[in-house]
């Protein structure tokens, strides 16, 4: 079908390269060609055809993996040409050779705009591809109006509209501030478009919208259910969209994923019924197409449909159907299906759905641990890990251990860290914990991660009851001739600390202990030797009989060729010559480790990433200054930016339901690079403050938004605003501390009184329970502004009682606070002085502390809210 016989030179060049025998020749040939092309580009008589040919050659060389350092300008020249064939290759070359921040991109902005305005849809297409491919900020800003026009105008051809939607998606992903937010709703409306391709392109866009804009969930939800119903019931599309007898599977999948996020907006029964019926129908497809060669397409939809069905209704008829499907898929022989069935099941468990019938498949999942495909092994291990609960954990761990010796080293390591963390989560007696971990060390010592044995040592040190048992068993294991480093290290460490506990037992006297450690010394690596020397020192401290022997060993190693070992031996030898009291102080038993246990273990995917610190750090040490402006603003607003710098942006949304206060944080990556190890940790918290949900990803890519939700159901006591630390790797480790806008006034319910009631209560509470503060504003140019002041006071949930005070500029308000199931009335009188930009603030409350907290908080906010630039 290809007719194009142009560019003979390019074809010859390619076949030349292919005929070369050796890699070296290829490089030589390419260097010659590059020199030739460079010379051609410098000559003044280059025809358009030649330029096209040489740029194509450059592209081919680039694709082979050679760096291209010139020819960019020629690519740009081609792009700005008028002929389509030149333009086409120019666009391709610019997309491949230049990155979005390249200076030359500026030269093509105008040309791209011209192509967007062109009446030729093919040129529109090229330009739209360009924006999606290499649209940096400058380009996106320049062409945004044209793209919006193309998408929204009815005159545009559908094929161009779908491209416009996706180019716009690129802009929304990377530079959402360029987007006109009023456009989001019309875009969602385009889901209804008759052309399924436009609808498909838009559905990708809508997915990102609902990730970012919770306020639009309701609208999206209705549209998506409607569209899905149309497709599933076989209406609203033409035959061109049927792919292997399934109507537009891509759109179906997208709609399922969209609904998975926003299905909670379905409140009325009819809509819910519709959705359930639609899902029921989708799940039934499974049966209809069993013989179809292209089960892939059906399965693709099915997995997303199952996830959605569980979320919508996890008890009714759908549940039965889903379980049946899942069961059949888990036992399916096709590796892809099995892999995804495991994946989906693990996901469902992590969402909190109980899947009791899964137990029947346990053996099959366990046996998949030995499947020859590493992907499947990994998934089955993940699933088994998720299936563990407090009831079955012991049997599960035992069964996993059976498989341990037969696995390859990568899977072993994975399995070990999972088993270690399971024993830690579900251990009700430490004996079991020690047993299992020792078995790990014995069977697969080489695959044991340092974290695992560190943790074992930490647990033994911290739990007195287990020390004797542990040291006895470790000692037994050390008797074996070949022990792996991790076992030797942990064993000798524990022996050094607690060897005296078993010194009176037969076969494990001080001398035997000494010999065991000494034997290991010959065969160990440097790092281990150092630990062994320390163990010997500790032994000799508690067992004076060993003193001489140990000194002899140190003497021998004091001439070791390894400086690390040598230094240690010399130092210890000196220690032995010092007075005995001194040695016993140096060798005192290690204190209990204070590091919270969980942290040291590798974080396991799917388990929540927020680690709640046990010890509450005092505020003064935590620097939250960078988030303070956002904090003050959000104290009286419900949504806005909490923090922003060149790398990340954190948006916040505060919602109130009855007495509950919910806070959602939205993290956005502002760069184009992906950050890794993204996590957030609570540095300061209080008992009523809960983490509802958190992101599970530690990878933070630019097009993604991570979300975290917190809530406070009720208040039992007064508190300081919580602080979280966000950390991530962007080349270097970045840490940002954020003070969360959860303050006492958020819990205030505004009320209003007439003049007599107000003053009656004001008098009743009395001046002795009043907090009064008088203060000026921060910032030299700050000016008090009446409207803004009013906004802040109402934003702080005070009900305004107007016309009460004789001085009209004064603000009087009231509110009720529920604390520890008691209602506490709070009254406010605020006297602004607009001439001097001063404020006097009086708060009276039945609870004096509440009055004080409210007043100081309000003072902080007011002081910092009137900067001249805000």
């Amino acid at each position: 079908m290809v007719v194009n016989n142009q560019m003979k030179g390019l074809k010859t060049f390619i076949s030349d390269l292919r005929n070369l025998k050796e890699e070296k020749d290829e490089e030589k040939r390419i260097n010659i060609e590059l020199a030739k092309i460079r010379a051609k580009f410098q000559s003044s008589t280059l025809s358009a055809y030649d330029r096209k040919k040489y740029v194509s050659k450059l592209l081919y060389i680039y694709m082979l993996g050679y760096p291209i350092s010139f020819g960019h300008l020629e690519a740009v020249n081609l792009l700005t040409a008028t002929k389509y064939s030149e333009k086409q290759i120019g666009y391709l070359a610019v997309a491949l050779l230049l990155n979005e921040n390249h200076d030359l991109i500026r030269l093509v902005i105008n040309s791209i705009r011209k192509d967007l305005l062109s009446l030729d849809p093919d040129k529109n297409a090229l330009a739209l591809h360009a924006v999606a491919n290499f649209g940096g900020r400058e380009l996106c800003e320049a062409v945004y109006p044209e793209i919006q026009q193309l998408l929204m105008s009815a005159a545009t051809e559908n094929i161009v509209r779908q491209k416009a939607a996706l180019s716009l998606l690129h802009i929304y992903r990377k530079f959402s501030d360029i987007m006109d937010m009023d456009l989001l709703e019309p875009i969602i409306m385009l889901l209804d478009d008759d052309d399924l391709n436009v609808s498909l392109a838009v559905s990708n866009f809508v997915f990102l919208i609902i990730c970012r804009e919770p306020s639009l969930h309701g609208l999206v939800c209705r549209k998506a259910i409607h569209k899905l119903k149309l497709i599933v019931s076989g209406r609203g599309y033409s035959s061109g969209y049927i792919y292997y007898s399934v109507p537009c599977p891509w759109l179906q999948v997208n709609l399922c994923r969209i609904l998975l996020i926003c299905h909670e907006e379905v409140t009325d029964e009819t809509t819910k019924r519709t959705l359930i019926n639609v899902l029921d129908r989708m799940l039934s497809i499974f049966k209809d197409y069993k013989d179809n060669k292209h089960l892939n397409v059906i399965n693709a939809i099915l997995f997303d449909a199952i996830k959605l069905a569980f979320a919508v209704d996890d008890s009714g008829s759908l549940y039965q159907k889903c379980m049946k499907c899942l069961g059949e898929m888990i036992s399916n022989k096709e590796p892809n299906v099995r892999y995804l069935a495991f994946d989906t099941t693990a996901y469902l468990i992590s969402c909190g759905h109980s899947l009791p019938s899964l137990k029947t498949h346990k053996d099959l999942i366990l046996s998949s641990l030995r499947y020859k495909d590493v992907s499947i092994r990994k998934k089955s291990l993940e699933l088994l890990y998720m299936m563990c609960d407090s009831e079955n954990s012991k049997t599960m761990v035992n069964e996993l251990l059976i498989y341990l010796p037969y696995l390859d080293s990568v899977s072993q390591e994975d399995l070990i860290s999972k088993v270690a963390s399971l024993t830690e989560i579900y251990a009700d007696d430490y004996k079991w914990y020690v047993d299992v971990n020792l078995q790990l060390l014995r069977v697969a010592g080489k695959s044991v991660n340092d974290d695992v044995w560190h943790q074992l040592v930490r647990v033994i040190v911290n739990n007195e009851s287990i020390q004797q048992y542990a040291v006895r068993n470790l000692f037994k294991l050390l008797q074996s001739d070949s022990t792996h480093d991790s076992l030797t290290r942990s064993g000798c460490y524990i022996l050094g600390e607690y060897g005296y506990l078993i010194a009176n037992e037969p076969g494990s006297g001080p001398l035997q202990q000494f010999i065991t450690v000494y034997k290991k010394l010959h065969t160990s690596s440097v790092g281990t030797s150092v630990l062994l020397l320390t163990a010997l020192l500790k032994l000799s401290n508690l067992q004076p009989d060993l003193h001489k022997r140990v000194a002899a060993v140190f003497k021998r190693y004091s001439v070791s060729l390894n400086t690390e070992v040598q230094q240690r031996a010399c130092e210890y030898l000196q220690l032995l010559t010092l007075p005995k009291e001194f040695l016993s102080i140096v060798c005192e038993e290690v204190p209990v480790f204070t590091i919270p246990a969980k942290k040291s273990l590798p974080s396991i995917s799917n388990r929540s990433d927020v680690s709640l610190t046990d010890s509450v750090t005092s505020t003064k040490e935590i620097d939250v200054s960078s988030s303070l402006p956002g904090f003050y603003r959000l104290c009286w607003r419900d949504k806005g930016i909490l923090y922003r710098d060149s790398q990340v942006q954190v948006g916040a949304l505060v919602e109130f339901r009855d007495l509950q206060v919910c806070l959602s944080l939205y993290f956005e990556n502002r760069k184009t690079e992906t950050y890794t190890s993204f996590s957030s940790t609570l540095l300061r918290t209080f008992p009523n403050f809960k983490v509802d949900s958190s992101f599970t990803d530690t990878i933070f890519s630019p097009d993604k938004q991570l979300q975290q939700r917190f809530s406070v159901d009720r208040l039992d006591e007064l508190f300081d605003p919580p602080i979280i630390r966000v950390s991530f790797l962007a080349g270097v480790m970045r840490k940002v501390n954020l003070m969360l806008p959860i303050v006492l006034s958020k819990f205030l319910r505004p009320t209003s009184f007439d003049s007599s009631t107000f003053f009656q209560r004001w008098g009743l509470i009395g001046v002795e329970r009043e907090a009064q503060l008088a203060f000026g504003l921060n910032g030299i140019n700050s000016r008090l502004d009446e409207r803004r002041l009013m906004k802040i006071v109402t934003g702080l949930h005070w009900g305004i009682c107007s016309g009460i005070d004789t001085n009209v500029s004064n603000i009087v308000g009231a509110g009720i606070l529920q604390l520890n199931a008691q209602n506490i009335g709070c009254l406010l009188r605020l006297e602004p002085n607009y001439q001097n930009d001063m404020i006097r603030l009086s708060i009276r409350s039945t609870n004096t502390t509440v009055a004080n907290v409210l007043a100081t908080n309000m003072q902080d906010i007011l002081k910092n809210s009137f900067y001249s630039n805000t």
């Binding site: 194009n4 599977p249 890794t676 990803d697």
Partner: protein, 162 residues
């Protein structure tokens, strides 16, 4: 959602097409290409079509001597991406008429054009095979007109010389 990169790699590990849907320094790109292709090439035919690579999911499928490889997000739908790959192959097949690796080597730019019509910003933009094909052919037709004009001009030039 969305595809992060799309690669065509021969059994020997030679790159036949590489399309990136997010910005990344060239150095890192070539590292990913190397790592991912060596990860995929050694896999046996009966294994599943998914592998994990540094927290990303790789979906691939082998057609004759070529591996078609997609990098996607951890929570994307793998099977539907596999169908995107299949669709791409179907279209190439229609376009070249029983496509083989050589077609893609000598007409690499065409392979890019086809992919461009199929995927935009990492998302599937066109689910109808015929539409993609006609879009690419329309481009070809325009080029053809250009080429004819070129020849005519050349001829005119030659005539003038005489």
């Amino acid at each position: 959602m969305g595809i992060k990169f799309f690669l065509l790699v021969s059994r020997q590990g030679k790159v036949r097409l590489a399309k990136w849907f997010y910005a990344l320094p060239t150095k890192e790109r070539s590292k990913i290409v190397r790592d991912v292709s060596s990860l995929v090439i050694v896999r046996k035919p009966k294994m599943c079509n998914f592998v994990e690579y540094k927290g990303e999911k790789i979906v691939y499928r082998r057609y004759a001597s070529l591996f078609f490889i997609c990098g996607i997000d951890q929570d994307d739908n793998e099977l539907i991406i596999l169908e995107v790959i299949h669709k791409f192959v179907e279209i190439l097949d229609k376009y070249f008429g029983n496509v083989c690796e050589l077609d893609l080597i000598f007409n690499f730019e065409k392979a890019y054009y086809v992919l461009e019509e199929l995927l935009l910003a990492g998302e599937l933009q066109e689910s109808s095979k015929t539409n993609v094909l006609s879009a690419v052919l329309a481009g070809d037709a325009e080029s053809e007109v250009d080429a004819q004009q070129d020849t005519i001009q050349k001829l005119v030039g030659n005539v003038k010389k005489f």
